[in-house]
Amino acid sequence: MLQTVESRESVGSTLRDEYLKAFRFMILSRVLDEKLASLYRGGKIHGGVFLGKGQEALSVALGLALHKGDVYAPLIRDGAGRLAFGEPVVDALRTYLGSALGPMRGRDGNVHRGRPREGYLAMISHLGAMISVVNGTLMAKRFKKITGAVGAACIGEGATSTGAFHEAINQAAVEKLPLVLVIANNHYAYSTPSSRQFACSNLTNKAAGYGVTAHHIDGTDLLACLNTVSTAVKQAREGGGPQMVVAKLLRLCGHGEHDDAHYIDPRLKHSPVGRDCIKVAEEYLLQQTWADAAAIQHMRQDAVQKVDDALTIVQREPTPDPYRENWCALASRHLSEGFEGPANEIQ
């Protein structure tokens, strides 16, 4: 009996620790997003800025459920998940500000960043395209007899209309791959509402057609996200085949910072789906007495400090020099028509 009580307490404490850990990443992601928006408004960022406001709970739940050796293909609004997966704040800022020292070295920007050889894939803009790539990494692991790893791909509801999505989810099902496909149904693909995107009653219906297990959650509820996403990841890891997670939530910003999102239906904003997952999580923390207001304020200050410190570093770093760029798109330099000498050799 005593043992049961102890184990229950231990489960409770694990959950609390996980929740607090997730909350810290959510805060950090939100603070980083706000800093990126501010840099954008100040003209410091070339190109677009794409934020994850409102999607942090879902995103962080996946980032935390993945282990070293897993494969992660985040999408445009997965700042929180990227941080939880282990991306340092400095990588995001380096990519947005075009630092020559960042993972993309000014050759690609904003959300197009990753370290593929470390299992952290760098998205291309074409929606749905990353899913089959994750499948391929999992097929490779199977060839290499690596067991226990999963691969996760993130998309929005808009990407479920692409051919790439359907080809890839079917492929994962046929190959029985440990794929976790996380769909953030944020109700708008840029400005297009769900009513113009799909006609099924729930996106989980799309899983049934391919023989894939589906999970549905309230994406504004961190606890639900942590529980369901970790369950899906566990099932995939244990050989249950591909898992689809569909989360309902609302994008609390424009498609990018250039977009004022005037088209979002105010009724949605004021419905449960329009809740800010960070506020919901904060209330839950207070209610559970897992943290008090001062502790939460301290977490926020800590996040601001982390982002400011990273920005201070990145703002002093060099931007790419076109005269030191080798203009070579091939790993086999001797076969490149454009290679312009060995001047810039950053490895």
Partner: protein
């Protein structure tokens, strides 16, 4: 003993699978069935688990190959026909071709495209896609014209750390034979002087090489010595070998089975005109397929693409001018 162009492709894949545990083959019907053209005949039996049937999902086939390559594998993707690579186009040119540039992660995938026309195949089983892929940075495009090159270049394609579009010509599958497989090969990216001559340079690749060689043979009986250059790879394009040949002959005819607009022949002529205008005694010429979809009926098809007859006529015109 003799070996066909198709058998050479099969043998190259068998050797790649035998020599390198990172290699696997992925494509429609490639497994127990051995492929639509039997380019993977018995490979699934010889290499269990490494020759995998895919769903009819070209986008996902290439996407999976990219993912596997990121994890250190060396996949060979068989498109059933070059024409069907279009649903996989996005993954090839936007993902595979940009991966190294963006992330410095090599993407060693080989995509085999059974290319070119055969009689009766029509608009969707006859296309030559090399130019459209060569347009994009980040890929290598091979167009082997001989049994020896089909074998050695496919092995090199698998060994290269970049995406390779391997355009194998279906017309050559059964028609072309060699005594044995080669033990050595020219370097990738180097064109070959397939026949030496002094009066006119014909630049060709893939199946058109053999039409050009037939024309050279025919015109030699009329006292004209034609030099035939086999490009072998069209990206990178061996401009030096072409230019050296034009320097010898002063006359250039470039022949391609693909459509004319913005293709390989246009590129060759643009390079010679911009970098070697002074080498030319007369304006360079080119011959391509007609600018229509590829026709089904043999009467139309045989006129749609360049033939020994139309190449000979163009060559004679050039030699007269």
């Amino acid at each position: 003993m003799s070996i066909t162009y198709l058998e050479a492709i099969r043998e190259a894949q068998a050797k790649a699978l035998a020599d390198d545990p990172r290699v696997f083959i992925y494509g429609q019907d490639v497994g127990a069935f051995g492929g639509a053209f039997k380019a993977t005949k018995n490979l699934a039996q010889e290499f269990p688990g490494r020759v995998i049937d895919s769903p009819i999902s070209e986008d996902a086939m290439v996407g999976a190959a990219i993912g596997a390559a990121i994890e250190g594998m060396r996949p060979i993707v068989e498109m059933q026909f070059a024409d069907f690579s279009t649903p996989g186009f996005n993954q090839i040119i936007n993902h595979a071709a940009t991966l190294y540039w963006r992330t410095q992660t090599p993407c060693p995938i080989t995509i085999r495209l059974p290319s070119g026309g055969t009689s009766g195949s029509g608009p969707f089983h006859s296309q030559s896609m090399e130019a459209i892929y060569a347009h994009y940075p980040g890929v290598i495009v091979m167009t082997p014209a001989t049994v020896e090159d089909a074998y050695s270049m496919l092995l090199e394609a698998v060994a290269i750390d970049d995406p390779v579009i391997f355009c194998e010509h279906k017309y050559l599958y059964y028609h072309l034979k060699a005594e044995k497989l080669p033990t050595e090969a020219m370097p990738v990216g180097k064109a070959r002087i397939a026949r030496a001559g002094r009066d006119l340079t014909i630049v060709a690749y893939s199946a058109m090489l053999h039409e050009a060689l037939a024309v050279a043979e025919e015109l030699s009986t009329e006292g004209n010595e034609i030099e035939v250059v086999d490009l072998r790879t069209i990206k990178p394009l061996d401009t030096d070998t072409v230019m050296a040949s034009v320097a010898r002959t002063g006359r250039l005819l470039c022949v391609g089975e693909a459509w004319p607009w913005g293709g390989v022949t246009a590129e060759v002529i643009a390079r010679v005109a911009t970098e070697g205008f002074g080498l030319l005694d007369v304006p360079p010429q080119r011959l391509n397929a007609k600018d229509t979809p590829i026709p089904y009926h043999p009467n139309l098809w045989s006129t749609h693409r360049p033939t020994a007859r139309s190449i000979a006529a163009a060559a004679r015109n050039l030699l007269r001018s």
